[in-house]
């Protein structure tokens, strides 16, 4: 287990370094002049002198490589720079918004994983149950609809027609429900299908049959023995999903005015606020890499063979 940890750690560092270079180049080389975009936010055209002055002030006239080294040095010291738009420190802004995104991603992951585990267990326990099949079918169907549309439907139904939950914002404990369900539904289908298929195989393996033959109750056989064998694929998928939840909440956060980092990124991209965009990509990509590494460790813990590989 220790070697696994060490090797994964080294790989992780390399991945993060490559990531930082990509993040910087992709954002810095993207077309569009941040200075001009910033100056024309009110919808009026700035004078060329003002654009030139702002470019110099933001250091955009320096060579690209010098900008990357300066940026990387700052990042390693924990300084993500200042927003071009309102000059506030980016690290503080991200830190302020990250809990909201993690909260949303966490609840969404609970929704997705809960739905997947419950429905697949139900189908494994009672293969002929119509309800379980219908729920599985519905979950897969919903996952094919873009989250934006699902979100709008949930808002019109639950928030506007029933007035049961707020349409957006983050006031009150109920505000997280609709965005989390929207996000969770998008992730549930993959998990559900993987887990159902693997569980179907697992119940037919010899040792599970032996457990049944021993006289264990069906419920205990499926939930304790078969589920553990069936888990690895779904856990890996859950890692990917968790990463997607953190990085992909952009649309849902904007729709529900959820004050997380995704919403910040949308505004920043629109006005070419490079430090914020870079910090957002860096932080979420790091989170994604970490989530995947965590999933791998879980698989290793679940399956002894993975440790030897």
């Amino acid at each position: 287990m220790t070697t696994v940890l060490l090797r994964r750690g080294a790989e992780l560092l390399f991945a993060l370094l490559a990531l930082s270079l990509l993040v910087f180049l992709l954002t810095a080389l993207a077309p569009g002049d941040p200075a001009e975009e910033l100056l024309r936010r009110g919808g009026v055209q700035p004078s060329p002198e003002s654009v030139a002055a702002l470019r110099a002030e933001l250091g955009l006239d320096r060579p690209l490589f010098a900008r990357y080294l300066g940026w990387l040095g700052d990042v390693l010291r924990g300084d993500l720079g200042r927003s071009y738009a309102d000059r506030s420190p980016v690290a503080a802004e991200i830190a302020r918004r990250l809990p909201a995104t993690l909260h949303l991603a966490g609840v969404a992951a609970l929704v997705a994983a809960g739905l997947a585990v419950l429905v697949s267990l139900a189908t494994a326990l009672r293969p002929r149950s119509r309800l379980a099949r219908a729920v599985a079918l519905a979950a897969v169907a919903v996952s094919g609809v873009p989250p934006y549309v699902v979100g709008i439907l949930l808002i019109s139904l639950v928030a506007v027609a029933l007035r049961a939950l707020p349409t957006g914002g983050a006031d009150g404990p109920g505000a997280v429900v609709l965005p989390a369900v929207t996000l969770g539904l998008a992730g549930a289908a993959t998990l559900l299908r993987l887990l159902r298929a693997d569980l179907g195989h697992a119940v037919r393996t010899p040792f599970v049959r032996l457990a049944t033959a021993k006289g264990l109750r069906r419920r205990r056989v499926v939930v304790v023995h078969a589920l553990r064998v069936a888990a690895p694929n779904a856990v890996t998928a859950a890692g990917v999903m968790l990463a997607e939840l953190v990085t992909g909440a952009v649309v849902v956060e904007t729709l529900f005015s959820w004050p997380g980092v995704g919403q910040l990124a949308v505004t920043a991209i629109r006005q070419r606020d490079l430090p914020v965009v870079q910090a957002y990509v860096l932080v979420t990509a790091t989170a994604a890499v970490l989530a995947l590494a965590l999933a791998e460790l879980c698989v290793a813990a679940c399956d002894p063979r993975a440790r030897r590989r």
């Binding site: 002049d33 100056l39 004078s47 506030s88 109920g174 904007t254 005015s257």
Partner: protein, 514 residues
């Protein structure tokens, strides 16, 4: 076990839902009002203004009315001397800032000097250009004299109040600023409200200013929420979470008909400074040929575009300046004649390569530009000009490479002076004209707008601007497609909504409907 898990889950869900079931209906005759806007109307202490004029925390010397005329705000009157080289503004009496200190001419001067000191400076609203020429022309000095504010200018300015109208003549207490020109704390203004709480990107909370000179606003507290998504904004309105939607782009054109038909809401359609223009690339074929620009102009059915695609929220474009410029706008006339367009194309020789209609992806969210561009493409093709539509993220780079033929985009002005539009976009040496390859060089046009900018006689200035616009109508470097309204909405329980052309809703005049 499964059942137990299920029961536990239901219990958790029930607990979660319980906390949020009973939202109180906000506003509705009480002292509190909740509004929503597409963007954060507070920009923070590093912004030159801190917050938008519409929040009613600060007031300008001069503002604009619903026809873009400069009208008194903190200045009650003004006069020009020495052919527009000296302007004197008389201040309203008995005005106090929200910290209790009186408004003085010295305070106004301190604000102007601060702007000049910190420019150039980007802003979420109207950026301060180097030298502040759009606001003050070429200032030689500004001073307080017998309680009045006097601007001395190196070159005459025809209508300084029009240039100052709005953000460029913001007045806040000099104590609000630190020595470097930033904000020392909260903004301190003279308006009906003060800013009591700001959660960046989420909401601003305003409270009635106890030192306000006029009658206290009907709502003691106003919350302005930020809801960036247009569908979510309308959902919040329908769900009764907000009492109104304000600011630029509060409602999408396509949302207006359904909301306007609903008796629970009052939609206010007031004209705005925003105009949709088509900019031609006349530095390459096909539109280097004036006949083909005219053909394109004739081929467009502006009436149909404004009525259907813009859902009646815009008026068909005709004269170069929007009618909100009042008598400075030349009425002009746009003709729709596909037959004449076809004849002109046949006469000039139909182009072989397709013309590129360029739109910005940043604007497609607010206006149905993808649909409009498609209609334009069809119109051009029917006239005999093959065309294609390109959506670009960074239109500046595309235009500077000269890789477009028509650019569809909306423009507004930061104040009430049309000089800005002509000088920034179309003068022969304008950066827009030169860098974006418009290829428009007209010494006659340059002379007309230069004379108009310093002509202090209103009738003479009007005549010069009308001549300049007729020149543009013939040359067609840019043609107006539509004059956009900015619809805002409140519930029927809120009365008194009024919006000027610069998207400023006077929050102090909102009151419960009786």
């Amino acid at each position: 076990m499964l059942r137990r898990v299920l029961i536990a889950l239901m219990a958790v869900l029930a607990l979660l839902l319980q906390g949020c079931g009973g939202q109180e209906p906000s506003g509705q005759g009480q002292e509190e009002l909740t509004l929503a806007a597409p963007r954060d109307l507070v920009a923070g202490p590093d912004d030159p203004y801190y917050l938008h004029q519409t929040l009613g925390v600060w007031e300008p010397l001069v503002t604009v009315d619903e026809r873009l005329r400069p009208v008194p705000a903190l200045a009650t009157s003004w006069s020009a001397a020495e052919q527009g080289r000296r302007w004197t503004f008389t201040l309203r009496e008995g005005v106090r800032f929200s910290d209790g200190t009186p408004l003085t001419a010295e305070a106004v001067v301190a604000n102007v000097e601060r702007f000049l000191r910190i420019a150039p400076r980007p802003s979420a609203f109207f950026s301060l250009d180097a030298g502040m020429e759009a606001a003050y022309g070429k200032p030689a000095g500004v001073r307080a004299e017998d309680g009045r504010v006097v601007f001395e200018l190196k070159e005459p300015v025809a209508d300084l109040p029009a240039r100052l109208a709005g953000f460029f003549s913001m007045v806040q207490s000099p104590r609000a600023f630190d020595p470097s020109g930033g904000f020392a704390g909260k903004p301190v203004g003279t308006g009906p409200y003060t800013l009591v709480e700001w959660v960046k990107g989420q909401r601003a909370v305003l409270a009635a200013n106890p030192h306000y000179r006029g009658t206290a606003p009907a709502y003691a507290k106003v919350v302005v929420r930020v809801i960036p998504d247009a569908n979510a904004r309308v959902a919040a309105l329908r769900a009764g979470e907000v009492d109104g939607l304000i600011d630029k782009g509060a409602l999408l054109p396509s949302q207006v008909p359904a909301i306007a038909a609903d008796a629970r809401f009052r939609v206010l359609r007031s004209p705005s400074v925003l105009t949709h223009y088509l900019t031609f690339n006349a530095s390459r074929r096909p539109f280097s040929d004036a006949r083909l620009r005219e053909a394109a102009d004739l081929a467009i059915d502006r009436e149909a575009i404004t009525r259907t695609l813009l859902a009646g929220t815009a008026a068909p474009g005709a004269g170069f300046l929007s009618p909100v410029f009042g008598d400075l706008a030349d009425p002009g006339a746009a003709t729709y004649s596909p037959e004449r367009a076809r004849r002109l194309v046949a006469e000039a020789g139909p182009p072989s390569a397709p013309a590129t209609i360029l739109i910005s992806s940043a604007e497609t969210g607010q206006f149905p530009y993808a649909d409009i561009a498609e209609v334009l493409r069809t119109a051009l093709e029917q006239a005999g000009i093959p065309a294609k539509v390109t959506v670009a993220e960074a239109t500046k780079a595309v235009m500077e490479a000269g890789d477009y033929d028509v650019f569809l985009s909306a423009y507004s002005v930061p104040n009430a002076d049309p000089d800005y539009l002509f000088r920034r976009f179309l003068r022969s040496d304008a950066a827009w004209n030169v860098e974006r390859r418009l290829g428009y060089r007209s010494p006659a046009f340059d002379r007309l707008i230069d004379r108009a900018a310093t002509e202090t006689d209103p009738a003479g200035r009007r005549d010069l601007y009308h001549r300049a616009q007729r020149l543009l109508a013939d040359d067609r470097p840019m043609i107006p497609l539509a004059y956009q309204d900015n619809p805002v909405v409140t519930t029927a329980q809120v009365a008194g909504a009024a919006q000027n052309v610069a998207y400023v809703v006077d929050l102090g005049r909102l009151a419960p409907a009786t």
